[in-house]
């Protein structure tokens, strides 16, 4: 059933306040990009969701207290930075926990779970090439992959990426270029075999 013909959906939409309606469309537009970045920064879909939610809570707290500097155009840069910082914090906590626990079995479970949460949309016929691309991105060094994700799917400029990551825009551009080259090489084998459509 499409959305327009679903009475429950229509009622919910009309009952929303103007603010809630605006937030919904904003989250529908930017949420997937932010979640993709969070997933690139974390080890699991659950961690990525937690971090994105925490980042949004931080933004909302700042907006409500009047501490946030800048308009709506500053929300995304703030969220990218917040997601990255929260991911670093989580990673440190996870590392400490891992040193205390035997996590081999847990990691295998997590990998299987991740396979059921693809990073990208795909048709069934296209699923293999999506999986190759996803695997290629995951294998890239994080410092390259994060720039690629922010530039291509986050539609950030090199200057904005540099600001979020604490590097110059030239360094961001260099990492992007190295990352693209590395990803192209990784995907090259699959492309030659005809497994990959891109």
């Amino acid at each position: 059933m499409d959305e327009a013909s679903d009475p429950a959906t229509v009622n919910t939409a009309t009952d929303l306040s103007p603010s809630a309606t605006a937030w919904r469309s904003w989250l529908e537009e930017h949420g997937p990009r932010l979640l993709l970045f969070a997933r690139q920064q974390t080890r699991s879909n659950e961690d990525a969701q937690d971090i994105l939610q925490d980042a949004l809570v931080k933004l909302v707290d700042k907006l409500n207290s009047g501490e946030f500097v800048g308009g709506q155009e500053s929300w995304l840069p703030y969220l990218y930075t917040a997601v990255r910082r929260l991911a670093i914090d989580l990673s440190r906590r996870d590392d400490r926990r891992k040193r205390r626990e035997d996590t081999v079995g847990i990691e295998i479970d997590a990998d299987q779970k991740e396979a059921s949460h693809p990073w990208f949309e795909s048709e069934a016929s296209d699923d293999e090439s999506r999986a190759y691309l996803e695997a290629g991105l995951k294998e890239l060094p994080g410092k390259f992959a994060e720039v690629i994700v922010m530039k291509i799917w986050g539609e950030r400029t090199f200057a904005e990426i540099g600001e979020a990551l604490g590097i110059s825009q030239n360094t961001a551009a260099s990492r992007y270029r190295y990352g693209l080259e590395a990803l192209k090489r990784k995907l090259g084998g699959a492309r030659r075999k005809g497994d990959l459509s891109i």
Binding site: T14, D15, L16, S17, P18, S19, A20, T21, A22, W23, R24, W26, L27, E28, G31, P32, R33, L35, L36, Q49, L52, Q53, L56, V57, V60, L63, N64, G71, Q72, H117, P118, W119, F120, E121, S122, R130, L133, I148, K151, I152, W153, F158, Q169, N170, A173, S174, R177, L180, L183, K184, I198
Partner: protein, 213 residues
């Protein structure tokens, strides 16, 4: 410094830093002339191919949880337009109860009535200048005055103060509130030249829609 240190120092100073590789030199040159930020056509093509992939959409549960986080936060469209968080249900405008205004209206009505009611009871009772506040607020000030053969001689609003009380949101529209304080003064005189003055404090709250583009 002993001979051993001299020896090490001379050996180290004989070393030369390795030259930068060609890739690094190219990169440094590109950074210097600004071309590092621009992609080659081939890189651009690969970027476009990757960009055709759409990030997975948020699950309905997760989207709902994010919406809950922002539910009570106004959505800033830009620095002037802010979408309000209250539900978009239109309500009948609530009538504002203004007791002083009501009392003033009663007093004025009484005074005006005194102008038109024929005076039949010519009492010799002296006018009372000291009218109790209760009589001023709830009674008919005109009655006693009429009985004493007084007639209205003048009326003034006497603006006392006007304050800008800031912005309130009413039916999702910002309004600027002005508080205006008056002290209405109605005076009555009689044939003997005696004068009675009735004072009535009054306050008005005026809501003016605020323009926010």
């Amino acid at each position: 410094m002993n001979d051993e240190f001299h020896d090490i120092e001379s050996r180290l100073s004989g070393l030369r830093p390795a030259p930068a590789d060609a890739a690094l030199l190219t990169r440094l040159e590109a950074a210097a002339d600004g071309s590092l930020l621009m992609l080659t056509p081939e890189e651009g093509r690969f970027e476009a191919e990757l960009g055709s992939r759409v990030p997975a959409s948020l699950s309905p549960d997760f989207l709902r949880s994010l919406e809950k986080v922002a539910a009570n936060t106004p959505f800033h469209v830009d620095e002037k337009i802010v979408m309000f968080t209250r539900a978009n249900t239109s309500q009948a405008p609530a009538r504002q109860y203004r007791p002083w205004a009501a009392a003033a209206a009663v007093a004025l009505l009484g005074a005006a009535t005194a102008l038109f009611i024929p005076v039949t009871n010519h009492s010799s009772r002296a006018p009372t200048a000291a009218i109790s506040p209760t009589e001023r607020s709830h009674g008919n000030p005109g009655k006693g005055v009429v009985n004493a053969d007084f007639v209205p001689a003048g009326h003034g609003h006497n603006l006392q103060d006007a304050k800008d009380e800031g912005i309130v949101w009413k039916n999702n529209v910002p309004h600027r509130v002005y508080r205006i304080e008056y002290k209405d003064l109605t005076s009555f005189t009689n044939a003997e030249g005696k004068k009675v003055e009735v004072e009535q404090p009054r306050e008005e709250l005026i809501l003016i829609p605020e323009k926010i583009d």
